[in-house]
Amino acid sequence: MSLCSKPLRLAVIGAGRLNIATGSHLPAIKKLSSVKLVALCDIREDGVKEQALQYGVPYYTDYEEVLENKEIDAVDICTPDHVHCEQIIKAAKYGKHVFCEKPFAISMQEAAAIKDAIKANNVTFMSGHHMRFTTMCRNIREAITEGTIGNVVFGKVIYKGAFFPYEKNSLYYKKASGGQFVHNGPHYVDKLFYLMGQTKAETTFSRTKSVYADKNDSMETANFTSVMLKFPNGATGYVEQNLTILNPRGYPTKEDILIVGTKGVIQWNTLDNAPVVKYLNGKVFISDPRPMMDVSDDPYASELNHFAECVFKGKSPETDIELSYNVLDVCLRAIA
């Protein structure tokens, strides 16, 4: 994945505990020649030190020191959601390109401020929406862009999973994350945007529901959200995030996608062992079952490679500030 004679020098902020950075981003970066990990940062010194030793890079406990380091081209922000805004804006002011895990902000005020900072400082910004980089999504989108189902008129993405309780000081509470649909909803909204080939949508209607075994488990926000969307081209969409399954405790995550076109439909769901099934002109096309993630096809590696490519080529990433802003807008309107 070499894009330039020199790789993008990247520091990961928020890498001091088991999270998206240590669990997914750092292993992905190891696979890339386009990105070189040059530093780690976290306020938890013990945790970040351990990771730094493992990856053979220096570590910081103050992210502003990372920003001051001129040997660093870009930062990958994996900190709790409520500090993203401050960190992105500061990074932009230091001229760093920014990759930030979703949600990049938890309010539209934050999102607008970030948008201004990115534009004012002319840096590349990309929000982490790794699901669009999965083989499954790429296959479906490829089938659509080839015109195999005609014009896309409707799409749905449903995510259904087990309820999980929250620890007392969890960073998933509303104050720190905006709530479940702000924290996780961007995954599914972005996925639908991508599959439909759209970058914005009107939130026409939503319903929310809170289903908790115990009030103390509540994240203070609904754990069921359904939202209807209307796209600028007249197509419509439906996104549902349902994390209310209290019983059985081990209920497996289920994802269900339906894309309806004027000439056919594409269906995909996790219950069917993840093949891509196309129903076209009276024939059924079923791909080999593929896992969503594997060593050779890591969506986190793909998205970070895309980020590096955009920085080097001065291109706008697929999930740039405009798209990320629009995705967040859908999520926040859905729970308003």
């Binding site: 359904s226 549902e240 399954i245």
Partner: protein, 373 residues
Amino acid sequence: MKKSVENVMMAATLPNKNIVSVASKFKIKKEQQIPQILRVGVIGVGLRGNHSYEQTLNKDPQVKILAVSHYDSASEVLAENRAGKEYHKQYAKELSAEYYSDYRSVLSREDIDLIVLMCEPSKAFKLGKECIDAGKHVLRDKPATKNPEDSFELAEYAKQKGKMFLVALPLRFYPVLQDVRNSIRSGQIGDVTTINMGYIWTNGPLQGFTASQDYVDAFGGGDALSAGYHAVDYLNWIVNSKPVSVYAHMDTYFYKEYKELSIEDFGQISIQYENGVIANLITGRCTAKRAGINWLDISGTAGTIDVRDFRSNFESDPLVRLGHSIVEAAISKNYNDIATGYEAAMTGAILKYALRSSQTFSEQKVSIDWSVK
């Protein structure tokens, strides 16, 4: 009685039906079955598919079809033009029934218990009343009438006259969907919290079918309302609560003439019920060349149910079950699982709210005037 959608919503929750699983019914030994025969007349013998419910009924050993007729000369001519001069007579012969050129002759036969009324919804109210006046039970296809208010009034009229106004809605008779309903009613999954249902017909646009203003006037809508009628009835049946709010997107994607007539072929309907259940439905017809696209996801406080392709997942013919349920209702007054006119009125009303929502881009609060009844 004030006629309004609101009246319909209120009354539709009233029937106190005996809830018995059809699956268990079919285990009844032959000698225990009610030995009576349901004598059937058919009004409306156009060219239809598997929704010709006289054929469904004819599969039941307790049914005897005695008479058939058209409901007017126009429909008789239309059928003859499409299928030949002797089509209707041949059809009657196939059913071992007598053919009448005037439906009133069917109604005047005292040996007929139930009329299968297969006319356009816009004509169902008037003809249905005539059937009831003639002392017959009435079985309708969906939509039972063009307007839900008419379904409600017809149900009330039938009740006053001691007759039954029944509506054939086959989804209630798919074994897997009956299992789902029984699981919910028995409390197996606790309190239902949310439902996501897909009921999408395929192979559209239908070959040889052209929508016209006459069609719109007769049926009141397009494919989202038509397929949606089945699905909304099923949702009402399993949720067993009054709707309090409806929101819908209705769109026209596949039929050029639908667009010209401003009727829909695809849609999403979201229903909030009084008991807290949220039901989201995707319905209509698309062009995919395959069997219908169906799913049902139900979340409850003590469990969850995921069903895929429920129409292809059955061990016995749902229509046979449907037919037997009609027989049981008409002979032994056991409504069992068959939809009543009240329930059809409720379904029609929800779809009316859905259409209104789609036209006004606004959530429709379902208000019920409880003092009316």
